[in-house]
Point group: none
Chain length 180, copies 4
């Protein structure tokens, strides 16, 4: 059996390593050692451990298609609750929660990474949600999508409170009322 390609080994290494040492603990040196590669090879493709990690996460998330399936049963209220429950589950999944917040947070300092994330993941997902609102006859679907996602994001990132069922339910209700 052939040796995995360099990129594959590096992606595996960074995902393994970040679980052991955290995002701050990643170093180009450590990655090179863990991936069995030279540092120069890393620098040829990435400019910091965060870039490597981001690339690995993006690769793994687009691998398993990453498409947000926005439910469309005809009942907008029920669909939104299902959607939000799904997002909340993902955001609070104990395994990836801390890592995601950590990475997402640090990305903000690297505009090119933020842009890539926006373009390849977030953009399509919000577009899909907006499309669902549009189909339901909502007048300003993009802005309503923001109204739906903004507080989720805010609560998650700033950890201003837990995602209880009650909170989700009344948040969806408020958004629906705003949507008219």
């Amino acid at each position: 059996m052939a040796r995995p390609s360099t990129v594959v080994r590096v992606h595996r290494a960074v995902l393994d390593l970040v679980r052991e040492v955290g995002v701050d603990g990643l170093t180009m040196e450590g990655l090179a050692a863990a991936a069995g590669t030279g540092k120069q090879t890393l620098y040829r493709s990435w400019s910091s451990p965060l870039h490597v990690l981001f690339d690995a996460l993006l690769a793994s998330s687009t691998a398993d298609d990453g498409r947000v399936e926005v439910p469309d049963s005809g009942d907008l209220a029920r669909d939104l609750r299902t959607l939000v429950d799904g997002i909340v589950d993902e955001l609070t999944e104990p395994a990836g929660d801390a890592l995601m917040r950590d990475v997402l947070t640090r990305l903000q300092v690297h505009p090119e990474l933020s842009a890539e994330l926006q373009q390849r993941l977030l953009g399509p997902q919000t577009a899909a949600i907006a499309e669902r609102f549009r189909r339901a006859g909502v007048v300003d679907p993009e802005q309503v999508t923001e109204l739906l996602l903004g507080p989720l994001f805010h609560r998650w990132l700033l950890r201003t409170g837990p995602f209880t069922d009650g909170w989700v339910r009344s948040h969806v209700e408020l958004v629906l009322r705003a949507a008219g």
Copy 2:
């Protein structure tokens, strides 16, 4: 004239320095040199350059009282627009914009700093806004406050779009409709 106290010198140094070298460029060594102090003295009070910076920013912002003045003219719609305009101005102020996003972003990795920020700045401000909603007879003032701020924060942090007048106007409209 007396020599400024150590803390004052350190605060000045970090605010000066961060403008030259950015948040990433701050080091304990550099701070010690810039403040004319020993490294040990820094470590006695702070555990990282980010702690120093955060402390300095907090000190300067509470100095000029930091109280959010939530307008209350009786006309909720107009008051909200004024409030949001004020926040947007602050968020997009070219000087502090980058630094604020940078610091706020990095804070997330330090729970104790996030908590302090929450408690000393963000909390009181959201409370004041919620109070304004309550006075206007809104049923669920806290959650509506989140509905107001979440998208602002989302748009600012992820840079998904500019804060045009139109956007602000219709955002407030949506929130008002949700608030009933």
Copy 3:
């Protein structure tokens, strides 16, 4: 016009390059780039930059025949002074002085290069000098040759003093007295 052969290009490159960067600054990578050749091609013929340089120097010095012309006018004293003056001129020639000392010095660590130098340059030259002593009836011409050259070499390599006319004159005198 044909492209110069690889060896020629390499020889030119190393001689050019050593003048820019010094002996220590030579690298296989730099040589390959300067000669417009691949690294592998260099390694096929030489095992280190020093080998390349040595080879180039030897090639250029044997090209202009390199034969030491030992004068033989019948007057041994005068001939020796002429000979020594010639050697001193060569050793102190400002252009090549440093390079020669540098290379000769570094050669000592590579026995196979030392041997080649000995065999192709130094050996014939000392033999020619010894032959001149023999013709003059000196009993032990080889050892007297050493007596003549040793101090020259010593003074040159260790830079214990300059080669003044007075020094050369009395050195030759001493050697002649020793030669009997």
Copy 4:
């Protein structure tokens, strides 16, 4: 018992290490590891592994006094043979031979080290020998000393031949004849 000072540990480390890996195998990194010190500490005092080695050798050789005892029995011929035998013994001592030639050779590229060696070791020794010649009534003791040492050095460094008893004997004879 106290921990040896940094300098002492470094000196020990370099002398140990050079026996294992040779002069070319010495690296600042390896030295730091072997001495249990940081690289910065090495760079504070020395600028290359060769400087470290040279310093250690000089320290150890001046420690055991380093004074050349030039014999003075009244019989110059016998004294010179004794002296030369001693030098030859040192030069051909199997343990240190290679190391000494290696270091001496590489020193030539570092004028400041050559100068230090000259001043602290070679200078005093040749002066002592010259003094012996002077006491014996030799007219030009410095130059005769060069006549004595030059060929030794030449033969040793260029390895043009072995130091047999016969060679030493006739070399001393030649020098004595030259000295008058």
